[in-house]
Structure formats: C-alpha cells, structure tokens
C-alpha cells in the first residue's frame, strides 16, 4: 500500500484559523448527526445478519 503523495507542484500546508463559536457548534452537530446515522445503519445490518442465521440453521440440520 503506497503512501499519499502530494500533487505535482503543490505543497500541502495547513494553517487553520481559530474556529468561531458558530463553527464549533456546526461541527459538533455534524459529528452527532453522522454518528447517529451510522449507528442506525450498524444496528440494521446486525439485525439482517441474525435473520439469515435463523433461516440457515434448520436447513443445515436436514
């Protein structure tokens, strides 16, 4: 797996400015929403997996 190279002729530098209160709140809201959305997806996929197992078990006994 290769490392990330900078694009030709571009030096990646970060010089962040201080966040405003509004920006901090906006980022926090985004993070909260992202986590909520992805935790729902995770729990849904777990449920789907357990359903598959229930169907598969009786077949295996036969």
């Amino acid at each position: 797996m290769g490392h990330i190279k900078e694009p030709d002729g571009v030096d990646l530098v970060i010089k962040s400015r201080p966040l405003t209160k509004e920006e901090e709140i906006a980022i926090s809201n985004y993070i909260r929403a992202y986590k909520a959305k992805h935790s729902i997806k995770k729990s849904q996929s777990k449920r789907a997996t357990s359903k598959t197992r229930k169907v598969a078990d009786p077949l295996m006994k036969k």
């Binding site: 797996m1 490392h3 990330i4 190279k5 900078e6 694009p7 002729g9 571009v10 030096d11 990646l12 530098v13 970060i14 010089k15 962040s16 400015r17 966040l19 920006e23 901090e24 906006a26 980022i27 926090s28 985004y30 993070i31 909260r32 992202y34 986590k35 992805h38």
Partner: protein, 132 residues
C-alpha cells in the same frame, strides 16, 4: 525549526501554547532531523489541526521525501481514535488547496473553508501509515 531556518510558521509559539499539542515526524535511525511538524488542539468531540508543515527540504520539486503531510494527518487521525473521537479531525484550508485535500486525503468540505476527515477515511489513513 524557526522562520530563519526556512520554516513557515512560528513553532516555538506553538510549543509554548499549552492548549496545543505539537508533534514532529522523523525517520528511523535519524531522530534529530525533523521531516515535518503538526500542531493540534483536542476539542470536546474531535481533533482540530492548527498547523501542519513539511520541513523546508521536503517542499517543492526537489523534496527529499514525499508524503510528509499525509503521514502527519494520519497521525492526527490516530490520536483522534485514541481519544474516543472515532477518527474525526477538522481543519481549515486555503481555498486553492480544498480540492487537493478532497482528492489526496479524502477530506470532506464542510463549507467556509472547513474540512472534516470522517471515520471511514480516518481509518484508511491510519491503516495506510500505522498498520504493521
């Protein structure tokens, strides 16, 4: 690591700021030569990168090593995971660099020059640089 030595930022000031963490990137067997520097602040729910810079000899066409910024960003993601932030990292970018951060790092442009690295991308960066 002073401006006189070709560095762009005042790293002494960063080190003196107690709310900021400063990390250097070196190579194995040569810990005295700094390849790049990173400063970040730990926020309540994520990590905010204040400054990131490659050493003067790692800039431009004749740079000694490629990939210094990617390595330092991956480290920021790792620290974010260690703090329980699921890899969330943010920073602000110059307008002309936004597209590059999207393409090279996979950062999400949140608007108003704000960039966010989301957990999936953060995990990929950590795996790329720190998985042994």
């Amino acid at each position: 690591m002073t401006i006189k030595n070709g560095w762009n930022f005042n790293w002494k000031q960063e080190l003196d700021n107690n709310s900021r963490e400063v990390f250097k990137l070196t190579i194995t067997n040569n810990p005295s030569i700094i390849q790049g520097l990173l400063s970040f602040t730990i926020k309540p729910d994520h990590l905010y990168m204040n400054l990131l810079e490659s050493a003067p000899f790692n800039l431009g066409h004749k740079k000694l090593y490629d990939g210094v910024p990617g390595n330092l960003v991956a480290y920021a993601c790792k620290v974010s995971f260690q703090n329980g932030f699921e890899g969330f990292v943010s920073f602000t970018a110059k307008t002309k660099l936004i597209e590059h951060y999207e393409k090279t790092l996979g950062a999400y442009h949140f608007g108003n020059q704000l960039m966010i690295i989301q957990p999936i991308i953060a995990q990929q960066l950590v795996n790329k640089y720190f998985k042994t």
